[in-house]
């Protein structure tokens, strides 16, 4: 929408895009094997400096897929968060808080234990995560719906219960797991991009790109939905189709990141909120800005997670939770007096 200064939007998106490139370069250059900026450009054929073959190999096989996954997963999580907040007309809605992530994680954990070592695992994992996430979302929204209205407080409370239930479920599954599966399970609990390899990325990339490409198509309808559901219908929006479509895409986004990286919380809450301050609530701008912001946040967070306590690695989910939970509390306090929680 062009109600406010469109130049700001253009600058915002270009600035974010530049910042993302810089973050990716920083992430690629950080780690036990050091590589100079010139050598990075050299790998792209843009500079005469060429790194040693073993360094180039490590870059291509280990660091590049990890950084790419961080960027795409961060972008998808943040955009899904922004879309869900639009859908529920509430800036506090986050896929992690309403239980989608833990539903996906529980289903993923069960699959991981049952099919540990199976070659179909990279395919089964996203599928079962999606089913678990969708089930949790459907449950949360169904339980919170009263006389045609979805009360956000109830959604958050149901999410709390689902999170607790899924945590217990994962703990129970862990009892049944062998050592190998147990180590993988740990990664579900906290979220980590440490397992990223090209094989996993290629399996999950289409599932992450689908919401990233399709959600912005609903931007104008989501804007109208912010006016209220009947008002959006008066403006010609097919609200039932819109809600189903946005919800399915958001669940797909969250469940796919859970399948490949476990629960990385709060990205979908913090990033859209910060972007809304700069871009306004208009989804045509907010969705791409959130995607770029989410990519930057997760690329930087993952870089910090793997380089803060070398040689051991902090799960990136721990770091985003450390950043996000106080932020969520601050938001709660801010909206405490408003009608947003009603």
């Amino acid at each position: 929408m062009s109600g406010t200064d469109p130049r700001l939007a253009r600058y915002l998106l270009s600035c974010l895009a530049l910042a993302l490139l810089a973050s990716i370069a920083l992430a690629l250059a950080t780690g036990p094997l050091s590589i100079s900026p010139g050598e990075l450009l050299g790998m792209l054929g843009l500079s005469p400096d060429v790194p040693a073959p073993h360094i180039a190999d490590a870059m291509l096989q280990l660091r590049l897929p990890r950084v790419l996954l961080a960027a795409v997963a961060g972008a998808t999580l943040a955009m899904a968060g922004a879309a869900m907040q639009g859908l529920l007309r509430n800036p506090l809605a986050d896929p992690g808080l309403i239980g989608v992530s833990s539903g996906a994680a529980l289903a993923g954990a069960i699959t991981l234990v049952l099919f540990s070592g199976s070659i179909a695992l990279p395919l089964l994992l996203p599928l079962s995560s999606f089913a678990g996430g969708a089930l949790a979302a459907a449950l949360a929204l169904w339980l919170a719906r009263r006389e045609g209205h979805t009360r956000i407080v109830t959604v958050l409370l149901v999410g709390l219960a689902l999170n607790g239930l899924a945590g217990a479920g994962i703990g129970f599954v862990a009892q049944l797991a062998d050592d190998l599966a147990l180590r993988s399970l740990n990664f579900w609990m906290f979220g980590s991009l440490g397992k990223a390899s090209w094989r996993e990325i290629l399996a999950v990339l289409p599932l992450l790109l689908l919401p990233l490409l399709l959600l912005p198509r609903h931007a104008r309808s989501l804007d109208a939905l912010l006016l209220g559901e009947p008002e959006a219908a008066h403006l010609g929006v097919d609200t039932e189709t819109l809600k189903r479509s946005v919800l399915a895409l958001s669940v797909l986004a969250v469940a796919s990141t859970v399948a490949v990286a476990g629960i990385i919380g709060f990205v979908g809450l913090v990033v859209p909120h910060l972007m809304r301050l700069a871009s306004g609530p208009d989804h045509g701008r907010l969705l791409p800005a959130s995607a770029l912001g989410g990519a930057i946040l997760l690329v930087l967070a993952d870089t910090a997670a793997r380089s803060l306590f070398v040689p051991s690695e902090l799960p990136v989910g721990v770091l985003t939770a450390l950043l996000g939970a106080p932020f969520f509390l601050a938001l709660l306090l801010r909206y405490r007096h408003g009608s947003e929680l009603a």
Partner: protein, 258 residues
């Protein structure tokens, strides 16, 4: 004939909220709907808007049953001003009005901006264009929402006269803006639209409405011109108040004896 509704009934929670009400909104006319709280005015408006499905009866918009219109076709044909104006996200007033353009065939950025500015000017809200909507007062919000509704029906539709459904548009407005709002309703009617407006003040009805439907307890008490319907006797039956009718220089008004 613009919008004809026949024998509309609506039930919810075991109660009959609307009982076989028929109404015809004709192009060029302002049709007021009057009645005490809980009379079914908003239910009737929401049935006509397509928010609710009637238990029985039918709605025919420009010769075609409402169910047979696609949602975008409907949106080009009729605009609705709701009673509540909740919006907690910080859109500017101009952005809210721009949302009204969603179903329209867009005309290029410059023309669109001109329509938005003109719609805001018509509701005396031009100075609010860049204000964040959540910071506006109740009356200012109503005027911005009214501008959004006007922007939605800015160009004539291809499939016959357009319909405006306004649910208590004067509720939070000051006296001057109440009259300005109803003058706008008259202007829209003069452009050929069929306008339905839910009102509480019988004197506004006398001044601005061509026809009026008086509702009470979900049933139609009377329908006709304002002079025919708004008799002191009938208003006393409906409201339980003592009314007297005065007239001077062709202007009529009702007075309530306290």
């Amino acid at each position: 004939m613009s919008y004809v509704a026949q024998e509309l009934s609506f039930r919810a929670g075991g109660r009959t909220l609307l009982d076989r009400v028929s109404i015809t909104l004709a192009p060029g006319q302002v049709h007021a709907v009057l009645g005490p709280n809980g009379a079914g005015k908003s239910t009737l408006l929401r049935l006509l808007a397509g928010d609710l499905e009637p238990a029985s009866g039918q709605r025919v918009l420009n010769g075609r049953r409402l169910e047979h219109w696609t949602s975008v076709e409907r949106a080009r044909q009729r605009a609705v001003l709701p009673q509540q104006h909740g919006l907690s996200f910080a859109f500017t007033a101009a952005q809210v009005v721009e949302l009204g353009r969603l179903p329209c065939v867009r005309q290029g950025p410059a023309r669109e901006q001109a329509i938005i500015a003109a719609a805001l000017a018509r509701t005396d809200a031009a100075h609010l264009a860049q204000q964040p909507y959540p910071t506006l007062s109740g009356g200012e919000r109503s005027r911005v929402q009214l501008a959004r509704v006007l922007a939605q029906v800015w160009e004539p539709a291809l499939q016959g006269p357009q319909v405006l459904l306004l649910d208590e548009p004067t509720a939070s407005l000051d006296l001057a803006h109440q009259h300005q709002c109803l003058r706008l309703a008259r202007e829209c009617a003069a452009q050929g639209m069929a306008v339905m407006v839910v009102l509480h003040d019988p004197n506004l009805v006398l001044s601005y409405a061509d026809r009026v439907s008086l509702l009470c307890c979900g049933q139609l008490q009377a329908q006709g011109t304002a002079e025919e319907v708004l008799t002191p006797e009938r208003l006393r039956q409906v409201y339980g108040l003592d009314f007297s009718l005065h007239s001077q220089n062709g202007q009529r008004w009702l007075q309530v004896r306290p």
